[in-house]
């Protein structure tokens, strides 16, 4: 079937099998292999992309159901020469080793910080009222949908906290 995907700010027309997941459409049809397939069943988070700004597992989304949504993949977040602040913190804190879960971690963290800003509680929140802090426990719980077998977890949380802190300073200054 013919579909149109709004991807990283550009519109793409595709002819896909209805069975094609958004993940496979990205990787096979569009050649955007930054989004990774780790389990194909929503059990690892390597395929995380943003759909209308929210983080989702692209492996459990049919490409045809993503029509009309704004999709952002890791390729749309930054480039090697122009990393997003979060990507730069991952690099500086060594928030990865093999790098396979990394695009998913970064997409997830990008949206997760928005969720905190929007006042969403988490399983780790003591009270449901908010505002919610950027403690290690809060960030780790919210990032738990992204597995990392190299276990760069400690560094990932440090990277996210640093990026969020820098962002807050930036906002205060503005």
């Amino acid at each position: 079937m013919d579909i149109t995907l709004d991807l990283n700010g550009t519109s793409h027309r595709l002819d896909v099998d209805p069975r094609t997941t958004l993940l496979d459409a990205l990787r096979h049809d569009l050649g955007l292999t930054g989004t990774k397939k780790g389990c194909d069943h929503g059990q690892c988070g390597a395929c995380t992309v943003l759909m209308d700004g929210r983080r989702i597992n692209s492996c459990l989304t049919l490409a045809c159901m993503a029509e009309g949504k704004e999709i952002t993949t890791i390729e749309g977040i930054g480039t090697p020469d122009q990393l997003s602040p979060l990507q730069q913190q991952f690099l500086d804190h060594d928030g990865f080793q093999c790098g396979y879960c990394t695009p998913g971690q970064i997409c997830s963290a990008t949206a997760m910080l928005e969720e905190i800003a929007a006042g969403w509680p988490s399983h780790a929140s003591g009270s449901l009222e908010g505002p919610f802090d950027l403690s290690h426990a809060e960030i780790a719980e919210r990032m738990s949908g992204n597995l990392c077998r190299c276990a760069a977890y400690s560094n990932i949380v440090a990277a996210i906290r640093q990026a969020a802190k820098a962002d807050a300073l930036h906002k205060d200054a503005a």
Binding site: R19, D24, T73, F90, D94, Q97, C98, A140
Partner: protein
């Protein structure tokens, strides 16, 4: 020209310490980092040659027997059943392909065919709907239900352990069980094969290209030079990609048969079935000590399993003979031949489970003898390797124990159940870390251009270990260049062969080969400068000798090429090489639900020279968490009737997630090991697993008084022993 070094003698003064760039050891960011964080690093399945077809492996649905026939599937281009397809993965460093002939089934889930179609969707659907006829064979799948083999070379005994046990004032005699573990690297095994005439290029997730090339050539029946392997980025290995696996062989066969490139990616479930598993173990530990806590007896009996005829057996007791001294010792290594999937190396084979269990037993002995666990270990550090009387190449266990105790505030540890916070018991535990060290053959080529830029080439891989970065740092240091002026090219069999990533030997071995190649280049620069190599200083692209200083561009007219080749020599046998450290953990155990939360962990490690403090630390963090998984969450369960892996996805096989991991602290005990060559660096990727689980399990006991000997320590195991 090739600079060759066989490490026969210790090198006490490392030439690298005379160099001026000051980049070696620095905590630099990863060279390939910008590509990884932006999703531009391309892994095995991430190229799209024109006309590529998609293959999906078909798996046996019987525990053993014969495939009698496979009915073709609608929607597929081909169903490939080829005698050359392999039954299981090659073991690490094998020189030949593993057993072929997929029509004979040895375990449930074995690959028996490949379905190829124009799309992944079509191939997967066809593969799921083949009609397959079998002749089913009844086979044992339970390691405790068969009489195990006792390979004579793997048994050893000194003195009279039984007597030592009887006579000792304090002793421990208990049995532990660890379940099957999976490497569970995040990137599933994948390959893309493309033929050009009678030559084939295979892009795959592999850790050891030079031996993989031999295995693959043997499996396909072609000459190695007709085969090129590419693995520029590998999404984690942990042993699971040491040897070639079914997907790459099948992709190559299919691509040849169909005359078009073929991609085969394992599903996550297939990875659990087809990648080597770490064997489950049954370990009986016997320990005896005198009133002062001096060990008089050590017994370590291990039962592991593998398929009949498979030569790998989890070397559970590998570190036991040299970690602590005792006059009476007995090592038993038994192998049950059963039809679960093939067992092989998973990160730190042997010590990952052997040291973990042994260090738990030692904690029990400390309790029995009423001696502080740290003191007990300090009291039993041998000065030379027991039995062989060989010296240790270096040995910093005592330092790691002393410094760890201080940094962790070990003195605040209380007896079990004395620290309570609400529903939680709090406790502290520790363990020794130990892992054998090994240097292996490696070659590398370094090219220095007149533009003052260097290129490092070797078929070594970076599986997340930091190889790109540390090889770049070694070359930058040796050639006096800023790091950004060194390009490192890896993961291509067109480059000089290294042994690869495995056994923690990658960095030291390939690093030494790069250093040697640089020495060769330095020699050529010295010649051009008219000085001896020892009088040459290279820094920031300048060459200096005496009062003469010139930019490299003035010295070099055409690219200088050096090759380096290192191989292990006499120091492999003349000394006992190992890496040492200590693990510390504080846990909370819920008195009602038995849930365990790790609150903090500390690791101290001595691994010789640290080549990059940042990437080295990350390796240690990863190992500590790997050990956490062994202690608390990981178990690949086998069905008792047919042996198939039941918890075969990432929803059921629980690797630790973000929420399981607190902030972890890692420190390195300063050390150089002269017996491993000029780099004085040792392995780092596995040491941090060995014992980290024991620190957690010992902390659980210190928290709530419960010993979990049947790993992992999930809530059910804890509540079974908690008060009602």
């Amino acid at each position: 020209m090739t600079r060759h070094l066989r490490v026969d003698e210790p090198i006490h003064d490392s030439p690298l310490d005379q160099m001026a760039q000051g980049v070696l050891g620095q905590p630099l960011n990863r060279l390939e980092g910008p590509l990884k964080v932006s999703g531009r690093a391309t892994y095995a399945a991430e190229s799209r040659p024109r006309g590529m077809a998609y293959g999906v492996l078909v798996q046996a649905a019987i525990p053993a027997g014969k495939v009698l026939g496979i009915e073709d599937a609608p929607g597929a281009i081909a169903v490939i059943q080829d005698k050359r397809m392999i039954r299981y993965a090659a073991q690490g460093l094998a020189e030949e392909g593993p057993k072929a002939g997929p029509e004979e089934v040895e375990y449930m889930g074995q690959a028996i065919a490949l379905v190829v179609a124009d799309s992944l969707e079509a191939a997967r659907h066809a593969a799921q709907n083949l009609k397959i006829r079998y002749d089913v064979q009844d086979v044992p799948v339970d390691p405790t239900a068969v009489v195990p083999e006792l390979p004579p070379k793997k048994q050893s005994s000194t003195g009279d352990l039984d007597k030592a046990m009887q006579q000792a004032p304090f002793s421990v005699d208990a049995v532990w069980h660890t379940p099957t573990h999976a490497a569970a690297a995040m990137e599933p095994h994948a390959a893309i094969a493309e033929w050009d005439g009678d030559s084939v290029t295979i892009r795959a997730g592999l850790q050891m290209l030079s031996s993989n090339r031999k295995q693959m050539a043997d499996a396909l029946g072609i000459r190695p030079k007709k085969l090129r392997l590419l693995a520029p980025y590998v999404g984690g290995g942990f042993g699971s990609k040491l040897g070639i696996n079914a997907e790459a062989v099948a992709a190559a066969i299919a691509a040849r048969e169909l005359g078009r490139p073929v991609q085969v990616v394992m599903t996550r479930q297939q990875v659990f079935d087809l990648a080597h598993r770490r064997s489950e173990t049954r370990q009986r530990i016997r320990l005896a000590c005198d009133h002062e806590g001096r060990l008089t007896g050590i017994g370590h009996e291990a039962l592991v399993s593998n398929l009949p005829g498979s030569d790998f057996s989890e070397p559970v007791t590998q570190a036991t003979p040299f970690t602590y001294a005792a006059a009476h010792r007995q090592i038993v290594h038994a192998v049950a031949r059963i039809h679960r999937s093939c067992a092989g190396s998973v990160r730190a084979p042997g010590e990952a489970v052997g040291v973990t269990v042994f260090e738990c037993a030692l904690d029990e002995l400390a309790e029995a003898a009423d001696i502080d666990p740290v003191a007990l270990r300090l009291r039993n550090i041998p000065t030379v390797e027991p039995d062989t009387e060989r010296p240790f190449s270096s040995h910093k266990l005592a330092e790691a124990l002393h410094e760890g105790a201080e940094r962790f505030n070990w003195s605040e540890r209380r007896p079990p159940r004395q620290r309570v916070e609400g529903e939680w018991f709090i406790g502290m535990g520790m363990a020794t870390a130990v892992r054998v060290n090994q240097l292996v053959e490696a070659r590398a080529k370094v090219t220095l251009g007149p533009d003052g830029r260097a290129i490092v080439e070797t078929d070594m891989t970076d599986i997340g270990t930091g190889t790109y970065t540390i090889l770049g740092q070694i070359a930058a240091e040796a050639l006096g260049l800023p790091q950004e002026r060194v390009e490192v090219r890896l993961g291509d069999t067109d480059f000089p062969p290294a042994t690869g990533s495995g056994g923690s030997f990658g960095a030291a071995s390939s690093g030494t080969s790069v250093y040697l190649a640089c020495e060769e280049v330095r020699q050529q620069i010295a010649k051009a400068m008219g000085c001896e190599a020892v009088d040459l200083t290279l820094q920031n692209g300048l060459a200096r000798a005496g009062n003469v200083e010139k930019p490299l561009s003035d010295v070099i007219q055409s690219p200088l090429v050096g090759e380096g080749y290192v191989e292990p020599g006499k120091t492999e046998k003349s000394v006992r090489q190992a890496t040492w450290g200590s693990h510390w953990a504080e846990v909370a155990v819920n008195r009602w639900t038995g849930e365990v939360r790790v609150r903090r962990m500390l690791g101290l490690f001595s691994c010789g020279r640290i080549l990059n403090e940042k990437t080295a630390r990350s390796q240690c963090l990863g190992g500590m968490v790997f050990g956490m998984g062994i202690a608390l969450t990981e178990a690949l369960e086998h069905d008792p009737r047919d042996g198939h892996a039941v918890t075969r996805d990432l929803g059921e096989y629980h690797i630790p997630c973000h929420a399981d991991v607190p902030h972890l602290e890692v420190h390195f005990v300063p050390e150089r090991d002269p017996y491993v060559g000029p780099l004085q660096a040792k392995g780092i990727g596995e040491l941090s697993i060995c014992g980290s689980g024991a620190a957690i399990l010992n902390a659980i006991h210190n928290a709530c008084g419960i010993r979990v000997r049947d790993l992992p320590a999930t809530p059910d195991k804890i509540i079974a022993a908690l008060d009602p």
